[in-house]
C-alpha cells in the first residue's frame, strides 16, 4: 500500500517536473470544457423553466389552423368552449410580435383579460395594468433597458389604429430574475393588445382550464363542436388543441435532448480537445521519454510508470474539470453569461439585462470530469506507454 501511495506521490511530482506542459494541458482542457459546461448549464436551466411553463400553464391551448398555419381566432368562440362539460375557465390571450423604438427592437406583446391582473405580482417592479386602464404596459427588463425606459415613462405612439394614436405609459418592469421570456415582453390588457395590432375581436388562443381528468374529453369536444366559421361561410380556420402532454412530449429530455449542445460541442470536445492535448503532450516529449528511460533503467516497471502517469493525468483532469466548473459558474452567475448567452439564446444581447437561466446539475458536472479524463488520458497515456514499453536504452537515446 505504501508503495502505491509513494508512486502516486511521484505522479503529483511529475506535474511539477513539467510545469508548462501541465499548465497548458489543464488550460487546454478547461478551455474546451468551459463552453460545453456553460451550454449544458444553460440548457438545463432553460429546460427547468420550460417545465414550469408547461406545468403551471393551462390544461389546453385552443387555437386556429388554416392552410397549415396558426391563425387568429374570434373572441366570440370563447362561449362555445365554456359550455363544454369539465371546463372551469377559459382565458383568451393575444401573443404577437412587434418592432418598437428607433432601432426597431423586437418585442413580444402579450394581452390578457384585465381581471387576470387583479392580484399583485412579485416578479415585477411597479404594478400590473389596472381596471379600465388603456395603454398601460409592463415591459420586459431587456426591452426597458434597450429602450431606456423606466417606471412611469411615457411611450410616444408606436401603433396606429382606427382610434388613432395613443401615448402609452410604463406601469411595471419585470424583474431581471423572472423567467427568461419576460426579457422582451410587453404585457398589457387584452383590449390594449388588440388595439396595438388593430385586430379587435380576435385572439391567438384560449387558455382552457379543466376539471382534473377531463382534458381528453374537453379536447375531443372542442375539435368536434367548436367552429370559428362565420354563419353561412364554408371556409375559415379549424380548431387546434394543444394539450399539456403534447408539450411535455416535445420538451427534450435527458442529455441527448440537448442536441444543440451535443452536436456542436461533442465535435469540439472530442475532435479539437484530443488534438489539443495530443499537441500539448508533445511538449517536452523527448525529455519525458528520457525521464521514463531513466526510471526503467533504475528498476521501475512499466505498470508502475503507467500508474504514475495515470495519477498525473487524473489530477490534471480533475484540476481542469474543477476549474471549468468554477469558471462556468462564475461566467453564468457573476458575469450573467456575458457573450455566450447571446450565442445560445436568440435575441439576447452580449450583456443580457435579464437573469440568464442556468442550472449546473451534478450529472453534467460528473460528465465534465469524465470527458476531461478521456481527453487527457487519450493524449498522455499513449505516449507514456510507447516510451515505457521501449527498452530503457532506446528511451534514453
Amino acid at each position: 500500500m505504501t508503495k502505491f501511495i509513494e508512486i502516486a506521490g511521484t505522479g503529483v511530482t511529475a506535474i511539477l517536473l513539467h510545469p508548462w506542459r501541465s499548465a497548458v494541458t489543464a488550460g487546454a482542457v478547461t478551455v474546451v470544457l468551459l463552453p460545453y459546461l456553460v451550454c449544458l448549464g444553460l440548457s438545463h436551466g432553460l429546460r427547468l423553466e420550460a417545465e414550469s411553463s408547461i406545468q403551471l400553464g393551462a390544461d389546453l391551448y385552443v387555437s386556429g389552423i388554416q392552410f397549415g398555419h396558426k391563425v387568429p381566432i374570434p373572441l366570440v368562440a370563447k362561449s362555445q368552449i365554456e359550455r363544454i362539460d369539465g371546463v372551469t375557465e377559459v382565458v383568451p390571450r393575444i401573443v404577437g410580435a412587434i418592432a418598437i423604438g428607433r432601432n426597431r427592437e423586437s418585442a413580444v406583446v402579450v394581452g390578457m383579460p384585465v381581471d387576470r391582473f387583479a392580484t399583485g405580482a412579485s416578479f415585477l417592479e411597479g404594478r400590473l395594468p389596472g381596471q379600465n386602464s388603456v395603454n398601460e404596459l409592463v415591459l420586459g427588463s431587456e426591452l426597458a433597458h434597450r429602450l431606456n425606459l423606466k417606471l412611469d415613462s411615457r411611450i410616444p405612439p408606436f401603433y396606429q389604429n382606427a382610434q388613432g394614436e395613443k401615448v402609452s405609459s410604463v406601469v411595471g418592469i419585470f424583474r431581471p430574475d423572472a423567467p427568461v421570456w419576460q426579457a422582451n415582453l410587453i404585457l398589457t390588457t387584452l383590449t390594449t393588445a388588440a388595439a396595438i395590432f388593430n385586430q379587435e375581436g380576435l385572439v391567438n388562443d384560449f387558455l382552457v382550464y379543466c376539471r382534473p381528468g377531463y382534458e381528453d374529453h374537453v379536447r375531443a369536444k372542442v375539435l368536434e363542436t367548436v367552429s370559428y366559421r362565420a354563419q353561412g361561410s364554408s371556409g375559415g380556420p379549424r380548431p387546434m388543441v394543444i394539450q399539456r402532454t403534447d408539450l411535455t412530449a416535445v420538451l427534450p429530455t435527458g442529455l441527448l435532448g440537448q442536441q444543440g449542445v451535443f452536436e456542436l460541442h461533442f465535435v469540439l470536445v472530442f475532435a479539437v480537445g484530443i488534438l489539443v492535448v495530443l499537441v500539448t503532450s508533445g511538449l517536452g516529449l523527448s525529455e519525458r521519454r528520457r525521464e521514463i528511460g531513466i526510471l526503467k533503467a533504475t528498476g521501475w516497471q512499466t505498470d508502475e510508470i503507467l500508474f504514475r502517469s495515470l495519477v498525473e493525468g487524473c489530477l490534471l483532469s480533475l484540476a481542469a474539470a474543477a476549474l471549468a466548473i468554477v469558471l462556468g459558474l462564475v461566467w453564468l452567475r457573476v458575469f450573467n453569461g456575458f457573450w455566450i448567452a447571446g450565442v445560445f439564446l436568440y435575441g439576447a444581447g452580449v450583456s443580457p439585462a435579464f437573469r440568464v437561466p442556468f442550472v449546473l446539475a451534478p450529472a453534467p458536472a460528473l460528465l465534465t470530469v469524465l470527458i476531461a479524463l478521456v481527453v487527457v488520458m487519450t493524449g498522455s497515456i499513449y505516449s507514456t506507454w510507447r516510451a515505457a514499453t521501449a527498452s530503457p536504452a532506446e528511451a534514453m537515446r
Partner: protein
C-alpha cells in the same frame, strides 16, 4: 576518503546551507511543491463541489418568481429565444406550430433552421393535424 562508508545517520541531522534560497523555513528534504499542488487541486475540486451544491440549493429561491409568472400568463415560453423575431417556435412551440425557416431534413444534419442549429434545446414541431379521435373521445 570520498565514497567511503559512513556511520548511519538520520536525515534530520542534515542542515540547509545558509545561502539556500527559500521563501519558507522548510526542513531539508521536505519539498513543499508537490504538497501545494495536491492540496491546491483538492481545494479546487472541493470549491467546485461546494459551488455546485450551493448553486443547486439556491435553485428554489432563484425560481420563486417563475411559478407566479407562469400562472399569471397561463404558460409562456419554452425555448431558447427571447422574442418571436428569429424563430417563433424557439420562443414557444405553442405560439407557432412550425418553424417558419424550417429547411427540412438537411443531408447529414438534423437542424431545421439557423436558429435551431445553435440552440441549447431543439424542439420537435407539434403535429399540425390532431391525432385521430375515436367516437368515445379517446385518442
Amino acid at each position: 576518503m570520498l565514497g567511503a562508508r559512513v556511520a548511519p545517520r538520520s536525515w534530520t541531522t542534515l542542515k540547509r546551507p545558509a545561502n539556500f534560497p527559500t521563501f519558507f523555513n522548510i526542513p531539508v528534504m521536505k519539498r513543499s511543491g508537490p504538497r501545494f499542488i495536491f492540496v491546491g487541486i483538492l481545494m479546487l475540486t472541493m470549491l467546485a463541489a461546494a459551488a455546485l451544491t450551493a448553486d443547486n440549493l439556491s435553485l428554489a429561491r432563484r425560481r420563486s418568481h417563475a411559478d407566479e409568472f407562469q400562472r399569471l400568463l397561463g404558460g409562456l415560453g419554452l425555448g431558447p429565444s427571447v422574442d418571436l423575431a428569429g424563430c417563433p417556435m424557439c420562443f414557444d412551440a405553442r405560439a407557432s406550430f412550425a418553424c417558419k425557416e424550417d429547411e427540412g431534413a438537411l443531408p447529414g444534419s438534423k437542424f431545421l433552421c439557423r436558429h435551431h442549429a445553435c440552440s441549447v434545446l431543439r424542439y420537435r414541431p407539434i403535429p399540425l393535424e390532431p391525432a385521430a379521435i375515436h367516437k368515445d373521445g379517446t385518442r
